[in-house]
Symmetry: C2
Subunit: 450 residues, 2 copies
Amino acid sequence: MSKKQLIKPRTLKGFRDYLPDAMLARETLIDTARQVYRSYGFSPIDTPALEYSEILLGKGGDESDKQLFRFTDQGDRDVSMRFDLTVPFARFTAQHLNDLGMPFKRYHIGTVWRAEKPQKGRYREFMQCDFDTIGTESNTADIETLLVIHDLFEALGFERFTIRINNRLILNGLLEVRGLEEKSVAILRVLDKLPKILHDGVRRELSEVVGLNDADVEFIVNLTSDIARNGKEAEELLTRASGQLQSSSIGLLGVDRISELLDAAISAGIDGSRIQLDLSIARGLDYYTGTIYETFLNDLPGIGSVCSGGRYDNLAELFTSQKLPGVGASLGLDRLLAAMDELGMLETAATPAQVLVTMFDANRLCDYVRIGREIRKSGISAEVFPDAKAVGKQMKYANRKGFRVALIAGEDEFENGHWQVKDLDSGEQTAVPEPELVAHLQHILGDTTH
Amino acid sequence: MSKKQLIKPRTLKGFRDYLPDAMLARETLIDTARQVYRSYGFSPIDTPALEYSEILLGKGGDESDKQLFRFTDQGDRDVSMRFDLTVPFARFTAQHLNDLGMPFKRYHIGTVWRAEKPQKGRYREFMQCDFDTIGTESNTADIETLLVIHDLFEALGFERFTIRINNRLILNGLLEVRGLEEKSVAILRVLDKLPKILHDGVRRELSEVVGLNDADVEFIVNLTSDIARNGKEAEELLTRASGQLQSSSIGLLGVDRISELLDAAISAGIDGSRIQLDLSIARGLDYYTGTIYETFLNDLPGIGSVCSGGRYDNLAELFTSQKLPGVGASLGLDRLLAAMDELGMLETAATPAQVLVTMFDANRLCDYVRIGREIRKSGISAEVFPDAKAVGKQMKYANRKGFRVALIAGEDEFENGHWQVKDLDSGEQTAVPEPELVAHLQHILGDTTH
């Protein structure tokens, strides 16, 4: 018999497998996000991975920007894999407008694909985690977007994080009163580069590339430095801005909305030191038109914003003539997971089960299986080791996987109706009568069973 | 300004959107499956949607069988979207063998794509929900696979379901002792058609197509009719089979394993009437080599098996020379959801939130937002309606979405520190002082908040 030629097992460049430890952390993060979204009344939706390319590209879309995985299917259709969740959401709302009813609040947690050059921390397949409220211009939706972001990070276990906010109307108004509205695109393009090129770079580019005079350069640079770190500073900053914006009605509207947002957040119990007002943030040039959100981890500011979003005027203008204003944000799941890993916030177990029932005597298989199911009924997860291998080997397996407790029973224990319960953290081992076993396990596992 | 040409919003043939009501049901189903898998120590994994086509097709794979979405990517690689979770799992285990450790128990809930002809209830994109134990031949794994299926359907709320089991070794042994092993593939092919062609069809095909004599035809047909519906019948059936199998060691091994499986299931507390032994089920011709599982809903037998699986000898032989025996099953998520819908087992709400805070006075926005967050802190989900529309419109929204309670407050209520609490089921409305609001809501919502 000739030896068969094997196929080399490998994944495509830019794609990855998730092993149990990584996947358990990911599922916990997704569950937490879902729970927070749902608590605010956001409903889940899903859309197909594949769409007509026309839908994803939009009119005159620049394919190279979107790095589509695009091909012709068996039915000769030009199709592509979705590259974000925003365009499918726009198509979805236009298509199901009558069934959804407005306002409509949805979250969408899904995989997207981009054929871009893979690099550290950037993959061709990754998960997005978006939530949006559409069909309303009410500031309530903007306020709740801020609360959702806040409660999400708190629920994930972060204490030190900062949500930076702005309203594009204020920024637009300030440029307008200084007569810079025609250069606003170029100015915003420079401002977006601030984290990379720093103040000196901004100063240089505003002067050399955009061609601003010194006074205007200093005005813009001052904007980016003037960050209000608490409620009192925000009030002062907004008062100053109001003073400058008397001739700009949109600028004053922006001030009103952000004031109300700050007031409402504080009155809802948010710690004001977690909210910073930064009149210079814009997040891109075109899409957002009102409130802007960025979220930073105080202990890892270098990774950039891990949850960003804002208000937009019209979600689905490519697909419907109905105007759909909205506001929302997107959680950078993979970036956040990497950050939590770096901060030591992730559990490291490679098993979701807490108890390993070891197998000492294969003839008592029914007993091991029975006790496993008994334990599970109390809400404790339990795995039964399938083979009667040496106890040392089974213990090694238990430690490697991260079980908290191992049960052992051989002839003596079965005769006495006992189970040896080994706490794998303390190493302590106790013989426990079977009727007391579940209570004993609950005691060892403490709060972790809930 | 010329009217812009809109892109028609539409999904590809065979693909679908999930609106909130469908998606909420789906998430509940997935959560339940996950919880049961985890309670038995199965860990989650994930693999990429795209793989090298060579990996998915295997050696000499028949592409037409697999209906791949296949294309050449920007890097000139021949890639395909996964058509099931089994082949990626085989590739995954071979690739990460050293990191996983054996035995390895995993579940994988993921989307797969098949470019087959769409028809009622069959889509080109659907979700699979698999669990497997690999790296062991122990019957413990076969037994726990049965328990997982059982506990899963119980957890989903089914009372009337039947798990049909068999062991391919018994079937192979019986054919062997009758000297029919060379015709076994043809015979199994006919047996697999039983649900469609019924006994008369089986009888006719065995005679005319396979060319069996009358005695052999009757022997096979008897096999398919002889289903043991409880422990006692199973024992009798296995005793009869043992009698016939004295000259077949593999047949007797099959009898031993299925006897032990039945004993262990009963001793672990499974209701024996939910397990049926059917010596004729094979589930395909090649893949499974030991225990076989099929799951039927007693109230909807016509939809076929909703959870099927079995034991196999070697998971990843295309990718590694290490032999990896295993056992597992796959939950037919979409078929099951359709069934639960038909049986009226699905919640029909289109919102995950229980309480709608209506907005009566836009000037009190901060109060509506504040009370929403207050309620959420107690574990009750609450949505704040963003616009001060007519109360009737907001109530219509609340009823349409399926909220259980609406809160209303205007000038009078704010003056008295009260909230009007409207139970949307009973229609009853009560004025409740704010400090008592959460307790009052908990009372109305009862157990549903947990």
